[in-house]
């Protein structure tokens, strides 16, 4: 052996241990630190939105009429005299009229301290819809209020609403994704596998869908959603709309991959060895673009979320009172309120973080999925 060795699994010493495919996958994936952090964040986010009723200090529809458009509550360890307290606390807010500007302003009343506690009793709710509970993960004791991200124009806690909104948005994404993924795989599959007239038809259909201007199409389809639908029905409708116009790219790629893989010598080798068609598809064709599918799925989730946000923001998707990241941003459409209450944009920040996390995760998966493609 020369002193120059190639740094890869393939140059392991002769007879050395050979890593299995999944070992190679994970070792590559762990090297992409941002992807690992993103994966952790995404899993964490999905976990807390599933138990949003428990994590959120308030009900998303509960109105705190004394605290309309209240700014985010400051959490401190030091009281007005500068004394340190081991348990963090919040001060009370007082709503006063500013005599100079004639604006209503919130003044911090440093004379009153409310300690922050974990597992406090609050509004009763049903966890997962059937476990009656009234314990919340955190809250303040007594009459105090804690608004981590402030309140909206109706005095509802923005942090709680964000958790419930993210739940809708994250799961609408998944549901729409499943539909779009199924459609893309199906149409791309029959197009690439059967070829001929079927292929021709599917390709023309794809071109037709891709040539439609997206926004007017969304508007037209959204107009079809009956106004009397419940929010759940509406977001099924929305996901279907996003999926019906969104499957074309995937179908194209699946078709192209199938066409090129079908012509590979190793597929012909399997055929002349007597391997059945079904086995050829599962053993040779599918693994050939599985890595692409994983990455596509990961990157499609944020697209679905953004699509839902865009539609809801334009008033075409979910409408209040349904809570989603998109409907939360509707409040920030008014520049007047935005100037005085910039915290209404916080849901936008959460969207950005979610989208970036999914992108990093997709990056890491792509690098890990095909270690021998250099």
């Amino acid at each position: 052996m020369t002193s120059i060795t190639i740094d890869s699994e393939s140059s392991a010493p002769q007879g050395g241990r050979v890593l299995s495919r999944s070992q190679i996958f994970w070792s590559k994936f762990y090297r992409h630190k941002l992807a690992v952090v993103s994966l952790g964040f995404i899993l964490f986010l999905y976990a807390i939105v599933l138990i949003a009723e428990f994590v959120a200090p308030y009900d998303p529809f509960q109105r705190h009429t004394d605290h309309l458009l209240a700014p985010p509550t400051a959490i401190t360890f030091f009281d007005a005299d500068g004394d340190f307290h081991l348990r963090p606390f919040v001060h009370a807010l007082k709503n006063e009229l500013n005599r100079e500007t004639f604006q209503r302003e919130y003044m911090v009343d440093t004379s009153v301290r409310y300690k922050i506690s974990l597992f406090v009793e609050g509004e009763p709710y049903n966890l997962f819809g059937f476990i009656p509970m009234d314990t919340h993960f955190f809250g303040v004791e007594g009459d105090g209020k804690i608004f981590l991200a402030g309140t909206d124009t109706l005095g509802r806690d923005l942090f709680s609403r964000m958790l419930f909104g993210a739940r809708t948005s994250l799961f609408v994404g998944l549901f729409g994704l499943a539909i779009g993924f199924g459609l893309g795989l199906f149409f791309g599959g029959i197009s690439g596998y059967f070829g001929g007239a079927v292929d021709n038809f599917v390709q023309r259909l794809t071109e037709f869908l891709q040539s439609l201007p997206t926004l007017p199409l969304w508007m037209a389809l959204a107009a079809l959603v009956p106004p009397h639908w419940t929010p759940i029905q509406v977001y099924f409708g929305i996901s279907t709309i996003l999926a019906v116009v969104g499957w074309t790219t995937l179908a194209r790629v699946v078709r192209g991959k199938l066409l090129s893989l079908r012509e590979e010598d190793y597929v012909m080798a399997a055929k002349v060895s007597g391997v059945s068609e079904a086995k050829i598809i599962t053993n040779h064709l599918l693994p050939g673009f599985m890595s692409y599918l994983i990455v596509h799925l990961t990157l499609a989730v944020p697209q679905m979320i953004l699509g839902e946000v865009a539609l809801s923001f334009l008033g075409l998707g979910l409408r209040p009172p349904a809570v989603s990241l998109g409907t939360l941003l509707i409040d920030s459409q008014n520049i007047q309120t935005l100037v005085f209450s910039p915290w209404l944009l916080v849901p936008g920040g959460l969207i950005i973080i979610i989208v970036i996390a999914f992108s990093f995760l997709g990056d890491g998966l792509r690098d890990a999925a095909d270690p021998y493609r250099s």
Partner: protein, 340 residues
Amino acid sequence: MSNKPLLKIEGLKKYFPIESGALRKVTGYVKAVDDVSFELARGEVLGLVGESGCGKTTLGRCIIRAIDPTGGAVHFSPLDDESIDLASADKKTLRRNRRHMNMVFQDPFSSLSPRMTVRDIIAEPLRAQKIPESEINGKVERIAESCGLNPAFLSRYPNAFSGGQRQRVCIARALVTDPVLVVADEPVSALDVSVQGQILNLLQHLRQELNLSFIFVAHDLSVVEHIADRVAVMYVGKIIELTDTEQLYSRPQHPYTEALLSAVPKPDPDLPDETIILGGEVASAANPPSGCYFHPRCRYAGEICRTEAPTLREVEPGHWSACHLAESLDLAGVVPDQDD
């Protein structure tokens, strides 16, 4: 062993339709393999030579039914008593008989799945034939060893192997079911010359050990000379000459074969260069010339060559040629190697 040939091919055709326009109207056909007939004896190695695009790969693939031929028959008798027509066999019969035949491909890089271990690749034909899992490992290791592969490396992926080793894997995969017929589609043309020699020797050795019949597709005449018992020369989808290797190299009976042989590089630079430069282009299989396909480039062509298509006929015992003038021409072959 019976006298029945292993393979009897009759009028095999493969036409590829030419489609044009948005409606994909068929406007013509590329006759990649056009009315080819020959026999292959048990244990025989038939070399199939010709220039690029003459249909030799397509012929090999049609014989083994990797692609469906347009017409003709391929009578295959793997066992002495039964004979099946591969060209028209249904899927079930075909799959059952797949273990008697296999194929080695030209490109050892694209013919191995990058996502399977070498052990799984070699075992694939066995699994396809529903061989019990308990027997598979032993068979795979035995054939791998015969092909010069270290069984310790079988759990690696193909990317860890060199071109020559990969071709050994391909050969092992083709031979693992103990076939009687192997179509080798230019198995050495993608390899370095030194590795070519190793692989050819391996094929020779395996052929004797396992009593295999080969259809050996190649464009390199010196490779074919080394391994084949008989050689078929193809030009634009047809076999134009077929005879024993020695006979073909020393006394060709078709002007095209003469030109091919004259182009084989000679190892001695002092010998006079007698390469026959063919004028014009290879005839198009989509739009072949009238009469003999070779006449526009043939220096002996007469009137009959322009109008009448020659048939493959036995000009001497065991020597078939598709040339009208075969008997009247005295064509030059090559001097056999000294060490032969």
